[in-house]
């Protein structure tokens, strides 16, 4: 093992209390950044979950639509204009809207209704744990997520309630379709969705466009844009990005998460810098001896940077374990924290940069060491 590493390791572990304080600082900082960035990623994924699960090549959306939950409406007749374009195989209407769910107890709670043409399978509920998609075609049938059963005041399959004074019956139950707004999603047939949300029968929220095999997406899109002037035509990726941008940045949610992450980095840097500085100060006599026996400044910088890197690796490892536990704990919540391999790599890099940057104050201190002090101590 290189002696410079041994020296750094021993310096670090010599004062265990200070080392623990350093590691706590790094762990606190990285866990905070992990949670903030994990929430950012999780939020970014959750807000596009409907777009991700819709099988569409293109979306026809009302002009100016900001996100999936935007309640603007299109004329249902646009569907026929879309279908008249060569290359369009299907234009499936999707209706969304908020409504009040009246529980058997008489209490009400807001729900988010998603209606789709169940025969075409535009935006159907997924991950069914009870019931079948086909059952949603029967009168009054709806699908709910099992995590919302309590919230909706029902016990499960076959339970009844009212939406807009009209009876509904649970015919399918999903697992894990959760809304970041905490408002339960209710899936049903598109015509009943209009009725339950008060949307006129001649209106729809979106059309999901599926192309014929071999059709050129750009060309079809161009024709759709010129034929349906009051709407926008977006690819799934574009709609996803638009929704994500709206929720993360227009609402300030993303900025708040980034601010929290930045706070974590600042706190971590200050704590590590402070502990490295005081550790260096404590070992200043040893560093002066090193200088006296002829070491270069670079050698001493290496000792300090190794201390910083060791702190980074140990702190990151603990933070990663805590982060993994938090991911597991939040997996079933409305806003799960998402950690991707890219985020892990980024966080490790951030930890290293933070710790090495924290070493600068200590390095500046060492630069001023007078080797002659080895004779006067």
């Amino acid at each position: 093992m290189p002696l410079v590493f041994t020296l750094a390791f021993r310096n670090l572990f010599h004062d265990r209390l200070r080392f623990v304080a350093t590691v706590i600082g790094i762990v606190f900082s990285i866990v905070l950044v992990t949670v903030q960035m994990g929430l950012y990623l999780g939020f970014g994924r959750t807000v596009t979950t409907m777009i991700d699960h819709a099988s569409a090549d293109l979306w026809i959306v009302p002009r100016g639509t900001k996100c999936f939950e935007d309640p603007s409406l299109l004329d249902a007749r646009e569907r026929y204009r879309a279908l008249s374009i060569d290359g369009v195989a299907e234009a499936i209407p999707v209706v969304i809207g908020f409504a009040d769910w009246r529980m058997p107890s008489g209490a009400t709670t807001p729900v988010f209704v998603i209606g789709t043409d169940l025969r075409s399978g535009g935006l159907q509920p997924w991950d069914l744990v009870e019931g079948r998609i086909e059952a949603l075609s029967t009168p009054r049938a709806v699908a709910v997520d099992r995590s919302y059963l309590g919230r909706l005041g029902i016990s499960g399959m076959g339970a009844t309630a009212e939406i807009r004074q009209q009876l509904v019956r649970v015919a399918a139950i999903t697992n894990g379709i959760r809304s970041f707004t905490t408002t339960p999603f209710i899936f049903m047939d598109v015509d009943r969705a209009r009725s339950h949300t008060g949307i006129p029968s001649g209106k729809t929220t979106y059309f999901l466009v599926r192309l014929s095999p071999g059709a050129d997406l750009a060309r079809v899109r161009g024709h759709l844009v010129s034929n349906i002037p009051d709407a926008e035509v977006l690819t799934s990726a574009e709609f996803r990005e638009r929704s994500r941008t709206f929720w993360l940045f227009s609402t300030g949610a993303g900025a708040a998460l980034f601010a929290g992450a930045l706070l974590g980095v600042i706190v971590g840097t200050v704590i590590v810098a402070q502990t490295l500085y005081s550790s260096t100060k404590e070992h200043l006599n040893e560093f002066a001896t090193l200088r006296a026996i002829g070491s270069s400044r670079g050698y001493i910088y290496k000792v300090i940077v190794w201390q910083a890197l060791l702190s980074a690796v140990i702190g990151f490892s603990i933070a990663a374990l805590i982060g993994a536990a938090i991911v597991r704990l939040t997996a079933e919540t409305a806003l799960p924290i998402l950690i991707t391999p890219g985020l892990i790599a980024g966080l490790f890099l951030l930890t290293v940069v933070m710790c090495v940057a924290s070493a600068i104050a200590a390095i500046v201190q060492v630069t001023r060491i007078d080797p002659a002090t080895a004779f006067t101590r």
Binding site: L3, T6, G294, S296
Partner: protein
Amino acid sequence: MNEPVIEAVNVAKVLGSGAAKVAALRGVSLAVNGGELTLLMGPSGSGKTTLLSILGCMLTPTEGTVRVCGHPPDGAGPEDMALLRREHVGFVFQSFHLFPTLTAVDNVRLALDVRGEPSRSARVTSREALAKVGLSHKISAFPRELSGGEQQRVAIARAIVGNPSIILADEPTAALDGENGQAIMKILAGISKEQGRGVLIVTHDPRLLPFADRIVHIEDGRLVGEEHGAARPQ
């Protein structure tokens, strides 16, 4: 006749500034030859440590020149001075200045590690250096597990492991009892005689006189006398 391994010519050093300015050295000329053990003696504040620091390339003189193995460090930057130290000078300090978190062999190995010597050969050489000072049985001991005399022997091993031309020692026996002090001086005298290195020792301790080839006296920043020591070959 051995050549001087270290040499100061008309060296003056002013410390501090303004009203606090002090002339620590005034026109000091001194040469230390290989194979010679020289004692530098003088009262506190006489300039002994300042002279040692200048000869050891830790301080630059205000006036005069210094040569270390023929190299003049005049005008050299801190890194050039460090290079001269690690290539030509070994240091022994009054308080040993061992690294408490490193074993004896690692403390010695540091002097080679700062030169970039490979770990494996450095470990072998460091063990040999410890054997030379009679500590081959303590290579894995930490400083806290060693007596004062043993710690100073580790410090001497660290000073000689890089084969420097000169050893500069500042009060190497001051922190030791008489018996350990004598043992340390025997080792330093052996380094001088058997290995042909120059050894310059700053001391107050008259018990070291029998080991000296030469004794140089300094007062108020000036060399005021020089005499042959008992160890000098007649």
